[in-house]
Amino acid sequence: MSEAHSGAHPTPRMYVKLALVLALFTAIEIALFYLEDTIGRGLARFTLIGLSFLKFIAVIGWYMHLRYEKSTLSKFFTGGFILAAALYGVVLGSFALTLAAGG
């Protein structure tokens, strides 16, 4: 199927380990949700976004196997992601500006 793997191909054991990590992250996320008042809103939200981003990257990199594929694929994929984040970021930002200006 795919060739040119850089580095070792992940084994089923690695996949399971990764799943455990992902499950752990999800557990932390839920805990953060309930402990938000204790540890502070800002920190909790920052960590939540960070954790979900790590999960996001992990699934793409290992489960979708993107780390081991030709770089063309990651260029397309990250291109789409960055474009989406940038465009919708600007749209939401412009709404925030308008609302802040009392519009």
Binding site: T72, S94, A101
Partner: protein, 675 residues
């Protein structure tokens, strides 16, 4: 070849086998036939859009026109725009892309031939669906939907809508909300527009994936990315623009459909929605769309100008990167369509600046084309005339476009005829002149004949005059204060003379298009036979016989340089001037012979019924959604879904190529084409 089967695979239908006639077109997966179908369909819609434009111009020929009702006028300018953008220029580009792209990169077909057929059929169904609203233009729309206050809107009560034309989609091609929402545009017209555009979007999304994979994966040996013709490059940029902008409009149109048919209020300010969100989503798609329309034409003239200047394209890499730059920047300027919509000063300044930067790559391209012609040995054939017409008129449209980047100036111009003049210079003077250049230039590839030059030049000059007479005065009218999308103007406004000029110009354009049609029909049968290389061309699509054999290349081509065919025919003398090689004429004769006589059997993908069947499901779902309140509407949605899924299943069970037996063909060099 590792075909390993003796029994035919079981499918629902016997595999289609016709190579000529009606069914061969319905079932074809040949990129050339699909390209031709795209071309003829697009041209038919071009005539529709043209007739709509003429009706608009008759209404505006003098003050207080009473040729059309206000409702008809709204419907006609909207349908004219939707038709020209989505049903003519985009599919015309798809026609060129389909026919030429595999030939230009040295491939036998696209990466997914059946998906390619699917794109075409979905496009056709989308167009027919959109226009079919004319059969349902009952002013008392049977559907009632609850508006913001909870009362039922029982359809439109304005009797002026009670005409055939008045039932076409109105509200502008951008379907601004809430004007095109349920409260202000009851009736079915906008529903058909939103769902029709949705279906057309599916077609374009499928072809964008197909062509990206084709360009990346199916290049001939030696055809590196930076050896691809500029046309292929521009089409690659277009495919990416489609890929990334269509999902946005898909969601936006879904939201419109939900607002109109299922009672949500995404864009209905009265119940908490935000119309500005529609504008953002629409223009996030709409501005890349502008480059989707113009880049194919830029690609075409980048092929035509070097051939008729007998010089390589000046600054190939610059023009390629400028094209990619336009595509990239094209995503970052959408809000310049919204300067008058109440976005903050920060956003206005940022988008104004970003818009100005687009002038840089565009300017680079203009200088590339001028530099190519500079010092070249120019031959003003019809394709070259259209290409030069493109460059000159596109400059005018581009310059008037830059004025919109300056926010205070934009506030003056927005929604006036200045804008109408500007974008017709870009889209008609640009895109459509480019398309005609391409039609004249590549006509021999389809027919094996060249189009009549006398009629061609007549067509060009009449169209050139008619075009400028129509659209140049619109700039002056706009500065005079004539507002876009107005049905009438008063005599005291003193706008009559220039409007009359524009109307006369529009009819001159119509005459030019008639001459083109006569020329096309005549030349198909009676035109001069073209031979292999009628234009002394540069790129590899001209190394194969005309009309193009079904298998394209008799043997897989190997590419050694940019403008590979040119370098086979010409060397350079000490001062860098091209010198025709002594064996060039023999080479052309040999290529023609070899191209017609493949030495090995060539297997092509088999025709298939399933793309056509799948495409039938989408309009069924569309009608079902529009009449979802009725039982038969729900049934139709189910049937449509079943048709599409059934087609997909049949498709999945049918191999791309039937197993074939390589032994036992007659060995006389007859091409063995598997169907």
């Amino acid at each position: 070849m590792t075909a390993t089967a003796s029994r035919p695979a079981a499918t629902i239908f016997r595999r289609p086998a016709a190579t000529t006639g009606f069914w061969s077109w319905i079932t074809t997966v040949d990129h050339k036939k699909i390209g031709v179908m795209y071309g003829y369909t697009a041209f038919t819609f071009f005539l529709f859009g043209g007739i709509e434009a003429l009706l608009i111009r008759v209404q505006l020929a003098g003050p207080n026109g009473d040729f059309l009702t206000a409702a008809e006028y709204n419907a006609l300018f909207t349908t004219h725009a939707v038709t020209m953008v989505f049903l003519f220029v985009m599919p015309a580009a798809a026609a060129f892309m389909n026919y030429l792209l595999p030939l230009m990169i040295g491939a036998r077909d696209v990466a997914f031939p059946r998906m390619n057929a699917l794109s075409f059929w979905i496009f056709l169904m989308g167009g027919l669906f959109l226009y079919s609203v004319i059969f349902f233009s009952d002013p008392q729309a049977p559907l009632g939907i609850a508006d913001a206050t909870g009362t039922t809107v029982a359809g439109n009560l304005d009797p002026s809508y009670n005409t055939l034309l008045g039932g076409l989609p109105d509200g502008g091609w951008f379907l601004y909300q809430p004007n095109a929402g349920p409260s202000y545009s009851p009736g079915l017209a906008i529903d058909f527009a939103a769902l029709g555009l949705q279906i057309l979007g599916v077609a374009s999304l499928i072809s964008s994936v197909n062509f990206i994979v084709t360009i990346f994966n199916m290049r001939a040996q030696g055809m590196r990315l930076l050896r691809m013709p500029v046309f292929v490059w521009m089409m690659l940029v277009v495919a990416f623009l489609l890929l990334f902008s269509l999902p946005i409009i898909a969601i936006a149109l879904f939201m419109v459909t939900f607002d109109r048919s299922f009672g949500t209020s995404f864009f209905q300010a009265a119940s908490g929605g935000d119309p500005i969100l529609w504008q953002h989503l629409f223009w996030l798609f709409g501005h890349p769309e502008v480059y989707i329309l113009i880049l194919p034409a830029m690609g075409i003239v980048s092929e035509v100008i070097p051939v008729f200047s007998r010089k390589p394209l000046f600054g190939y890499a610059a023009i390629v990167f400028a094209g990619a730059g336009i595509g990239f920047l094209g995503f970052g300027v959408w809000a310049h369509h919204m300067f008058a919509s109440g976005i903050t000063p920060v956003a206005q300044a940022a988008f104004g600046l970003a818009t100005m930067t687009i002038a840089i790559p565009t300017g680079i391209k203009i200088f590339n084309w001028l530099g190519t012609m500079w010092g070249g040995k120019l031959r003003f054939t019809t394709p070259m005339l259209f290409a030069v017409g493109f460059v000159s008129q596109f400059v005018i449209g581009g310059l008037s476009g830059v004025t919109h980047a300056i926010v205070p100036s934009d506030w003056q111009q927005t929604d006036t005829y200045w804008i109408v003049g500007h974008f017709h210079y870009v889209l008609f003077g640009g895109a459509i002149f480019g398309i005609f250049a391409g039609l004249y230039y590549w006509f021999p590839k389809i027919t094996g004949r060249v189009m009549n030059e006398t009629l061609g030049k007549l067509h060009f000059w009449i169209q050139f005059i008619g075009f400028n007479l129509t659209f140049a005065p619109m700039h002056w009218l706009g500065l005079q204060g004539m507002v876009r999308r107005t049905w009438r103007y008063a005599p005291e406004m003193n706008m009559g003379p220039w409007n009359l000029a524009a109307t006369v110009g529009a009819f001159i354009i119509a005459l030019a298009v008639l001459i083109f049609m006569v020329n096309w029909i005549w030349s198909r049968r009676k035109g001069q036979p073209s031979g292999l290389d009628p234009w002394d061309a540069r790129t590899i699509e001209w190394t194969i016989p005309n009309p193009t054999p079904e298998y394209n290349f008799a043997s897989n081509p190997v590419v050694h340089s940019l403008d590979d065919f040119w370098h086979l025919k010409y060397s350079e003398d000490d001062e860098g001037r091209p010198v025709r090689r002594p064996d060039a004429d023999d080479l052309v004769v040999r290529l023609d012979h070899e191209g017609r006589n493949p030495t090995e059997p060539i297997h092509l993908p088999n025709p298939s019924y399933f793309p056509f069947i799948m495409s039938l499901g989408l309009p069924m779902i569309g009608y079902g959604v529009i009449w979802h309140t009725a039982l038969w509407g729900k049934i139709l949605i189910g049937l449509g879904a079943l048709t599409t899924i059934g087609g997909l299943l049949g498709w999945g069970m049918e191999p791309l190529e039937e197993p074939h037996d390589d032994h036992g063909h007659d060995g006389h060099g007859e091409p063995a084409i598997a169907h």
